[in-house]
Subunit: 228 residues, 2 copies
């Protein structure tokens, strides 16, 4: 059990491993990174993982704990600030959605968005003790805050509807972000007219879709669902 010095700089072995892990997770997927590959990239001995983090899972937990705490802490803080600035006025759906989507689309920090998305998708596909722990601790509270904010922004909807639509929103965002490689599916299907790797375009398209989906005012088959 090592005594971790509090201020670790970037040339630290542990920091290099964390960086290498984050990079490889984002590039290849969380489950497809071997310790030999990881330590090679970090320029560190194989045994260093066990020494500094206890195990492979310990390293992964450190990566996602850090990431989740930072990202969701900022999301909650930004949401609070926005709501506080409103006074008694109703929050705008667009603004709430923008705040939610922000960490996935932050320009200049694409790796963070992809990593975050991969983590969520991984948890949905093959939940593990690790992902469950991080989700419950860092994502569930944030989700509840945003569901509450969405309810304020959409007074015509019940909490049940909001919950469903929040879930669909998350799904659309994270799965889209896991396909940002060249020749991604949308580029292929649209003949290049749309492309996940053009982030600005993606943001606009995504917000258009989510706004409509959450607000929920479109003509239905029997025309009975008009409410506003």
């Amino acid at each position: 059990m090592p005594a971790r010095p509090a201020p670790a700089n970037d040339t630290d072995a542990a920091s290099r491993m964390l960086q290498a892990a984050a990079g490889l997770y984002a590039e290849k997927g969380i489950g497809k990174v071997s310790l030999r590959e990881l330590t090679a990239r970090a320029g560190v001995n194989l045994a260093a993982v066990s020494y500094h983090f206890g195990s492979k899972d310990g390293l992964a937990e450190a990566v996602f704990e850090t990431l989740s705490r930072r990202v969701n802490g900022k999301r909650i803080a930004d949401l609070d600030a926005y709501l506080a600035g409103l006074g008694t006025r109703r929050p705008a759906l667009d603004e709430v959605l923008s705040l939610f989507v922000a960490p996935y689309l932050e320009t200049g920090n694409e790796q963070q968005g992809v990593l975050l998305a991969r983590f969520i998708v991984q948890h949905r596909l093959e939940p593990s003790a690790l992902t469950r722990k991080v989700i419950r601790k860092h994502f569930d509270p944030m989700a509840k805050r945003f569901i509450a904010a969405l309810a304020l922004a959409c007074p015509h909807l019940e909490v049940r509807d909001i919950s469903w639509r929040y879930l669909f929103t998350v799904s659309a965002v994270v799965l889209t972000l896991t396909d940002t490689t060249k020749n991604n599916r949308i580029a292929r299907l649209s003949g290049g007219k749309a492309d996940t790797s053009r982030t600005d375009e993606l943001r606009v398209a995504l917000l258009d879709f989510l706004r409509g989906g959450i607000w929920g005012d479109a003509p239905s088959a029997n025309g009975s669902r008009r409410r506003r």
Copy 2:
């Protein structure tokens, strides 16, 4: 190289393996099934996989080839029938969406929906030669048909918008379906008010969301996006 007899019944070793594979893929995830576990459930010797399917990947390919061909063939056929019955009238967005979503939500065949969803999500998270092949062969053509149909149903939208929204739609559907276990996330977040395991409820909520998202007529932040 075995000579596969054309009519294979359910007590066939190969059929039993296919069934066991499909079941285990749906239950545990595609990447988490070992051949020893699979052959044990199928009541078959370990070497039978190599003998009948060449390799582990060969078995997986057989599973998803069959599933994808059947499901997407039916989707295309149903869409064609619907469009043909319309004559020159404009297709209804709700109907097109229902046809698209159908194989994921077919009652009495839940395993199919989950398996399908898992396959798509797996491909997005960690694409492999296998998933790429099946996607290009069986899903891309179907997707293009539905995008075209959606364009007919939504004449106010450009193909680019439709492509984006189709992608978001797929994302919302498949990722939602990978979390249908007890104590799923939406049940936890909504305090039980919504629950992925109640299929009828899920269908309604999903179609409400998708209709609104695709049609895209909701008040935006600056109020400028009103078009119909």
